[in-house]
Subunit: 146 residues, 2 copies
Amino acid sequence: MTDPHSRYETMLAHLKARGGRLTSQRLALLQLLSVSEGHPNAAQLHDQLQAQFPAISLATVYKTLTLLKEEGEVFEIDLGSESHYDGHKPYPHPHLICRQCQKIMDGDDIRRMDAVLQEIRERYDFQVLQSQLVFYGVCRDCRQEA
Amino acid sequence: MTDPHSRYETMLAHLKARGGRLTSQRLALLQLLSVSEGHPNAAQLHDQLQAQFPAISLATVYKTLTLLKEEGEVFEIDLGSESHYDGHKPYPHPHLICRQCQKIMDGDDIRRMDAVLQEIRERYDFQVLQSQLVFYGVCRDCRQEA
DNA sequence: CTACTTGCAAAGCCTTTGCAAACTA
DNA sequence: TAGTTTGCAAAGGCTTTGCAAGTAG
């Protein structure tokens, strides 16, 4: 489910099912999202797409990202001023952001997160539907340098 | 530490210690932050301050909030498009936001959160310094209505 | 051919900045 | 009085919107 090819196929299937048109710009963005290791923002995606489509606009990138968000095929990471996008794990999951190298890491497989969700349900009687969980700090690599 | 009066005094002390001037606009904002139960945004604070200072500008509100953030006397809740401010618990803590009534609730005292932080340290070898944790969903009151 | 998509430019939103006037200490 | 702070207006950064031209189906 996380390998590039099947992610691409899944996103494509959702676009088709929705009745959207498979323009070359869209296909290239799906490709990019399913391949890129990091968590790019709209500008970074736009930059990379310009290699293939010198005239592609940022608006097109945003419009396609909105589509994919609606289809649940991309997860938007809300940071203070901008958003980054995760096309590999299109569901809510924690992220760890290094204040030194700015790297954004996935924090899925924090096993004890389930216990937190359960506690929120029980103690606060609150039904969680979505989340934006970001931990800021210093990553292993940057700590080893110091 | 969470009662309005001592919060006000603490914020005031920090402002003084920093050498900042105690203008009436600033004092009114401290007052407001220490009293308000919810988690207001800059515009809401501005609206309320206009009762006392019809000409107060949004810029002044932002500038004072920046000061208080730097002093660690207010916690900024980064939501997608805007920020809200917590003057009662000026340290990072989770928030629960109801998608129905838009209420923002404190999610401090989630006891199992400590275990999550410990797991992040151990499994990811990541040193957490700060966090922005927001859970979106449906609160008790709104669920009872349905 | 028709309806959807693109690219461009303009607009929107929240927040920050520059600067003269006002004010604290 | 000297140095901060205020209010106003303008600018900034990211994202969205309007619309004519282009294109998938």
